[in-house]
């Protein structure tokens, strides 16, 4: 298999992975936790992860717990594979400087944990909630943009995956398949504009999940307490 085909295949698999770790799953109750609580949890996780080895393990456990308890345990595999990419990179590039496998492994674990926290945050981010909040702020047209972004990105990613698959079958260079995706994206802007033109104003409605909000708040409080203990 030529190098070019390998690149195409890797790119296609990466697109699929990103697609599956953030976008593919439908709306679930676990995605109905207030944005600010999710954000506070992410910030706390990043701050706690700056601590020692044991703090890292606690943060990692909290991320996995959030995924599992909020009904998305199956996403962990995809997110973990994705988070392994930067953590492996950091392990390799830090090794010549640390000259210690353990130190590099801790750096790598820290990168893995923080990456997973970010992926978890983005996974549970509900664009409809952001739109709903923007509407409460009476920002004209703004409510449409978060949902539209969440709709368009996976649409383009899925097309990119198809274009790369076809390109691989046709044995054309990867850049040609990617160029088509860029051209497609450009065209999509005007096509979405046409599609949206006669639709009425977008009026999002949204309901929060008390159960999942409480669970998330409990995890957040526990992490804040750990942070305070280490301060």
């Amino acid at each position: 298999m030529s190098v070019l085909r390998k690149i195409t295949e890797v790119l296609r698999l990466f697109t699929l992975l990103l697609f599956r770790s953030i976008f593919i799953y439908g709306d679930i109750e676990g995605r109905h936790v207030p944005f600010l609580i999710n954000l506070a949890l992410l910030i706390t996780q990043v701050l706690v992860a700056r601590g020692g080895y044991e703090c890292l393990v606690v943060v990692l456990a909290s991320v996995l717990f959030i995924y599992a308890v909020r009904g998305s345990g199956k996403v962990i595999t995809y997110s973990s594979v994705l988070a392994l990419i930067p953590s492996t990179w950091y392990f390799i590039v830090s090794l010549p400087f640390t000259t210690s496998l353990v130190t590099s492994a801790v750096i790598s674990l820290r990168v893995f944990t923080v990456s997973l926290s970010f992926l978890c945050f983005f996974y549970f981010l509900n664009p409809v909630e952001i739109s709903f909040l923007l509407r409460l702020l009476h920002l004209k047209n703004a409510p449409l943009y978060p949902v539209l972004t969440w709709r368009v990105i996976p649409h383009i990613m899925r097309d990119m995956e198809t274009a790369l698959l076809v390109g691989e079958m046709k044995r054309v260079e990867t850049w040609k398949s990617l160029a088509i995706t860029v051209l497609t994206t450009e065209e999509y802007v005007s096509l979405y504009e046409e599609g949206l033109f006669s639709k009425p104003e977008y009026r999002p409605s949204y309901e929060y999940s008390i159960k999942h909000t409480l669970i998330t708040v409990l995890v957040l409080v526990a992490l804040i307490m750990l942070l305070a203990l280490h301060a």
Binding site: Y25, P127, R151, T162, L165, M169, E193, G195, S198, K199
Partner: protein, 424 residues
């Protein structure tokens, strides 16, 4: 009543609509037919205000109500339904654009179009047919008085197409909504359409007979499966395939052979997994997986033509896209005169035909096609079908996912896949 008099439209300096005049009474369904590229979509875009607000163009003529008022009264559903849906979940799309708020009413409305089990599903995992039905549900519940539907049944199977037509008829009668529908299938709309307008080269005439009658009659009588079957086949065995977001497998026990020189049509209601099956075959062909075995014991040289033809193309112009032998396919599929035109300036039907010409001339042993005739008028459809038959004579085998009954007429084998009830 909607009255349009002597409307002329220019886009990119091309005179597309010429002296178009017609009337539509409130609560009527008007069917707009005509060859691809005749200006049908342009007319809908003009009435909805997309031209000149989004697509720059010049519009001259008279309409009552005025085009400015019409803009607020109309709902235009795009030919490519993907671009009509703008939110990530089915529930957020319906509740955000219609007065429907409660989950109960939402499920009730969606049930009519067999979408109620997809309420919490992401809109980008819906099949083309499912998204087409969702777009329709939003359009009819949006509160707009005039609904403009551009090929609303192009990705639907016959049963769903008939449901849609019945629903249009019911809504127009019960709620007085006016529908202007672009569709090539006159028999489907039958007596439900109060008027049929025929648009050819930008000029409009009223007609009582289908201008494509002779071609449809020809296809009905003459199309038959090719007789070029060779002994070299590709064996397809899919025991079970499941998406990570579903609890139930999408495909189970799909097993068939496709031989070089024959056509296998994959049928099934929208969302049954036809596109997934084609992509699965494509991926496995690349990996020479044991699920896909060539009886000659070698790797299958196959290609996929997706339902969005642009994703197939990889060169800037048609002449660059096809091999030398492909030029005759360009001529045959009626795009020979567009050989030097940049692909971004081709219409969606022209791109589809170009992708097909490129695949047929690429020397592939097997060609996988997803809805190759979607959105094509009967004449172009006939050209595509005949080109496929021609390619079988040169040894190409086809696996075609299609709802089109005319494509089915050339099938040596029909594989039906039906979806089990799934939870998302």
């Amino acid at each position: 009543m909607l009255e349009v008099r002597n409307v002329n439209v220019w886009v990119n300096s091309h005179h597309i609509l010429k002296e178009v005049s017609f009337n539509v009474d409130d609560g009527n369904v008007v069917l707009l037919v005509g060859p691809s590229g005749s200006g049908k979509s342009t007319l809908l875009k003009t009435l909805s205000g997309v031209i000149p607000s989004v697509i720059k163009g010049v519009v001259k003529g008279f309409s009552n109500p005025s085009l400015e008022i019409l803009k607020r009264k109309t709902m235009y559903v795009h030919q490519e339904p993907w671009f009509f849906v703008s939110t990530p979940y089915v529930w957020s799309e319906v509740t955000g654009y219609t007065p429907i708020m409660s989950l109960g009413s939402l499920k009730e409305v969606l049930e009519e179009f067999k979408l109620s089990q997809h309420v919490f599903r992401t809109t980008y995992t819906l099949s083309a047919g499912e998204i087409q039905r969702l777009a329709f549900v939003i359009a009819v519940n949006s509160g707009k008085e005039i609904i403009l539907l551009d090929e609303p049944t192009s990705y639907l199977d016959r049963r769903n197409s008939e449901t849609l037509v019945r629903f249009v008829n019911k809504v127009s009668k019960d709620y007085g909504k006016t529908f202007i529908v672009v569709d090539h299938d006159l028999t489907l709309w039958g007596e439900h359409a109060s008027k049929v307008l025929y648009l050819c080269d930008g000029r409009l005439t009223e007609t009582s007979r289908n201008p494509f009658d002779e071609i449809i009659d020809y296809m009905t009588r003459k199309l038959s499966p090719p007789e070029s079957r060779s002994s070299e086949c590709m064996r397809i065995r899919v025991n079970s395939f499941k998406f990570p977001d579903s609890k139930e497998p999408l495909l189970t026990d799909v097993s068939f052979d496709v031989c070089r020189g024959e056509v296998v049509v994959v049928k099934g209601s929208s969302g049954s997994g036809k596109t997934t099956l084609l992509k699965l075959i494509a991926s496995e062909c690349l990996r020479n997986n044991e699920k896909i075995i060539n009886t000659a014991g070698k790797k299958c040289k196959a290609v996929l033509v997706p339902d969005n033809p642009l994703l197939y193309l990889s060169s800037p112009t048609p002449v660059d896209e096809v091999s030398v032998s492909g030029l005759k396919y360009l001529e045959y599929l009626g795009i020979g005169n567009k050989a030097e035109t940049p692909i971004m300036r081709l219409s969606s039907g022209e791109r589809r035909r170009l992708a097909i010409a490129s695949a047929l001339s690429g020397g592939y042993e097997y060609v996988l096609m997803d809805e190759p005739t979607a959105g094509l008028d009967p004449l172009n459809k006939l050209h595509v079908i005949e080109a496929i038959i021609k390619a079988t004579e040169f040894g190409a085998g086809f696996v075609i996912a299609s709802h089109d009954s005319f494509v089915e007429k050339i099938a040596n084998k029909v594989v039906c896949i039906e979806r089990s009830q799934k939870n998302y």
